[in-house]
């Protein structure tokens, strides 16, 4: 069935490079050879029958394999899924066919021979073929059955009446019907938008293509291989896995070609933070309702929440938790001081492939050190960039400082050990933080409360340190979520050692983002006068933000995430928010060995 297809049907007649077979063979690269069935002298060798504990291959996945092998493997082998406008339209078209009762299909020998019978949503499976399919409609007439698959969109104008992936899918349905003992001589496709029916002829060639595709898909998944992305294909534009697959970015490493446009975000949803002590979050209809005593309730549409962040004594009802789990929206649990405690839900793809590769990388000393060198270099370069861009101090001090930081960044390339890297990082951090007050406006610099001498933590001793600590914690959480969604384990680091309660991988990946995202958000809030000295309370040697000030600072950070930036490797414009998601996905690709290095975010 097509209702949960990851992509739309190919746009009618608008896919360039379509040959007479209706397939864009050049797109599929080496991973999808044309089936040799029609040629002489070759024997098609199929995968052995499915073992008992193996999953049967759904007809829908074979359709996807023929469309793009990578799509089928990402979805079926790696448990990745994303929807888009086309998949939503597909569901809508499908629902329209689901009215009324669905009569069951009688046994093959009890088929009425003089009338047409229709049934819906029939599940068929065959261990022998290793295949399964959900059939939209089956018509029975005169002892023969015809599977009819419903598609959104219009009938494409190609010689065969429909594109190969759809014909292959119907063919698998027909084979399963035959396996169940029915006489099935043809299949059909129903195009909902143009209300046209297309007959699918079950030629030997089509059957061989379908069985060959099923076999190739099963063997590829069993071998743990991920086929390469398509190259500049129109298919990717319509593919809902585009934000996950990153075809242009992965190809960039192979060919150096520039990516076209940034992959779209999977959803426009944004985080919802609840940090007012005593607040209560409940679910009502299609919204989350936040109740704070003495304030009007706030309702936020569930669809618009990408992540629920709860800091401190805030409660969440079980029905709300269930709904968030169902929607795969993570709940991040944090202490009042925004110390990341952990998450519920939002576990990312239903597969451990990426995590397994991540552990292997962490165990591989040379690879680990190579990554760490580039990481520390990126962090030092980015602190230098922040100083260079926002300098308000003496001109004479600036040059030598920037030179020194550039030198330290260059030295990372020759660091032999992680300890040596730590030394370089420490020296750069000391220089950078000593210079930080030179980035304050005169108005801020004149306030004794905002004096800043050095970075200190746990507890932060002064307002500027309190702001930095808070934003670093929030940044850690942003990355922890992006990392989990990309299938990685936030607790296992590459540069940072593991320690209980420490999301080491998030701490690794945020290093280059600390100056350009977190520090710049704090600078923005201070220099714009969004925070005043009486927004802070000092107690027991530590300094903290009052709830209202925390709200303002987090809002400034979230605004910073919405700002656009240029990706230094790919050259396109994206929001920082989207950039972080892309970087997490790229890191997963790097970990799996699909791309040779992780391109750190180092803006100019």
């Amino acid at each position: 069935m097509s209702s949960s297809d990851t992509r739309s049907d190919p746009p009618a007649g608008s896919v360039p490079g379509q040959d007479a077979l209706g397939q864009n063979l050049s797109d599929q690269g080496a991973a999808a050879p044309a089936r040799p069935a029609a040629r002489q002298g070759e024997l098609a060798l199929f995968a052995p029958p499915a073992a008992a504990d193996e999953m049967l291959t759904p007809a829908r996945m074979i359709n996807e394999w023929v469309y793009c092998p990578r799509l089928a493997v990402l979805e079926w082998g790696r448990g990745e899924w994303a929807g888009n406008a086309d998949t939503a339209a597909g569901r809508r078209a499908h629902k329209a066919t689901e009215t009324g009762a669905a009569p069951a299909l009688p046994e093959p020998d009890a088929l009425p021979d003089d009338r047409t019978l229709k049934t819906r949503r029939l599940l068929l499976a065959s261990e022998r073929l290793g295949l399964t399919a959900e059939l939209d409609v089956i018509e029975a007439d005169d002892g023969r059955v015809v599977p009819v698959d419903i598609k959104t969109g219009k009938r494409p104008h190609v010689a065969e009446g429909a594109y190969l992936p759809e014909r292959v899918q119907v063919c698998v349905q027909a084979l399963l019907l035959r396996e169940a003992g029915y006489t099935c001589e043809e299949g059909a496709l129903w195009f909902a938008d143009s209300r046209e029916r297309v007959r699918v002829e079950l030629t030997d060639e089509l059957i061989a293509t379908a069985l060959g595709a099923a076999s190739d898909l099963r063997l590829t998944v069993a071998a743990g291989r991920l086929p390469p992305p398509l190259d500049h294909s129109q298919k990717c534009v319509r593919c809902s896995l585009l934000p996950i697959c990153l075809p242009d970015e992965v190809n960039w490493f192979r060919k150096g070609a520039i990516a076209r446009t940034p992959p779209p975000a999977a959803t426009p949803a944004l985080p919802l933070y609840v940090q007012t002590p005593g607040a209560r979050v409940t679910k009502k209809d299609f919204t989350l309702v936040v109740q704070v005593e003495g304030e009007a309730d706030r309702a936020v549409a569930l669809d618009e929440v990408s992540e629920l962040v709860l800091a401190g004594p805030v409660s969440l009802t079980t029905p709300a938790v269930h709904e968030l789990l169902r929607r795969d929206v993570p709940v991040a649990w944090m202490s009042s001081g925004f110390w990341y405690l952990g998450s519920t839900g939002g576990q990312g793809p239903r597969s451990a492939t990426v995590r397994t590769a991540q552990y292997a990388l962490a165990a591989d000393e040379p690879r680990r050190l190579a990554f760490a060198r580039e990481l520390v270099a990126a962090k030092i370069r980015n602190s230098r960039t922040i100083l260079r861009r926002n300098w308000r101090g003496e001109d004479g001090e600036r040059g030598p400082l920037l030179d020194r930081l550039a030198l330290l960044a260059d030295r990372t390339a020759r660091a032999e050990t992680a300890a040596a890297l730590l030394g370089l990082e420490g020296e750069a951090a000391a220089l950078y933080f000593r210079a930080l007050p030179k980035l304050f406006t005169d108005a801020v610099a004149a306030l004794p409360a905002f004096a800043f001498e050095r970075r200190n933590r746990r507890p932060p001793a002064d307002p500027v340190n309190a702001c930095l600590s808070l934003i670093y914690a929030v940044l850690t959480r942003t990355f922890s979520s992006a990392i989990s969604v990309a299938g990685l384990d936030p607790w296992k680091g590459v540069y940072h050692a593991e320690r209980p309660g420490r999301p080491a991988l998030a701490l690794d990946l945020i290093e280059p983002f600390r100056p350009v995202l977190a520090d710049s958000a704090v600078l923005m809030a201070l220099n714009n006068g969004e925070l005043a000295p009486d927004d802070f309370v000092s107690a027991a040697g530590g300094c903290n933000l009052k709830p209202k000030a925390r709200r303002a600072l987090i809002a400034a950070y979230e605004r910073r995430l919405d700002q656009e930036t240029t990706h230094p490797a790919f050259g396109y414009q994206v929001s920082m928010r989207r950039l972080i998601q892309i970087q997490a996905r790229l890191f997963a690709r790097f970990v799996c060995g699909e791309i040779p290095r992780y391109p750190h975010y180092v803006p100019r």
């Binding site: 406008a85 939503a88 959803t267 944004l270 919802l272 933070y273 209809d285 299609f286 919405d562």
Partner: protein
Amino acid sequence: MARRSNAEHAYVVAYDISDPKRWRRVFKTMKGYGRWLQLSVFHCRLDGGRRAEMASALEDLIDRDADHVIILDLGPAEDVEFAVESLGKSFQPIERRAVVI
């Protein structure tokens, strides 16, 4: 140019529902998609996927013979200045911002 499926558009959704029970259900459903503007009018900001989901959810609720829903597309939410004249209360386009409570 073809509409990027993930780009958000702004919409006005207005409905006439003849049965109070169904009206209530439509009202509740619409709260999941937009901001309540007036009695049977919502203002929404949706990408292509949510736009299709909303239409599908409404289709399930209404009686096709007795009720009527219209979905007016005001154009891309990010790049277009809506020419809206609002008398009395003010009209605010929906901005996509993280909510911090």
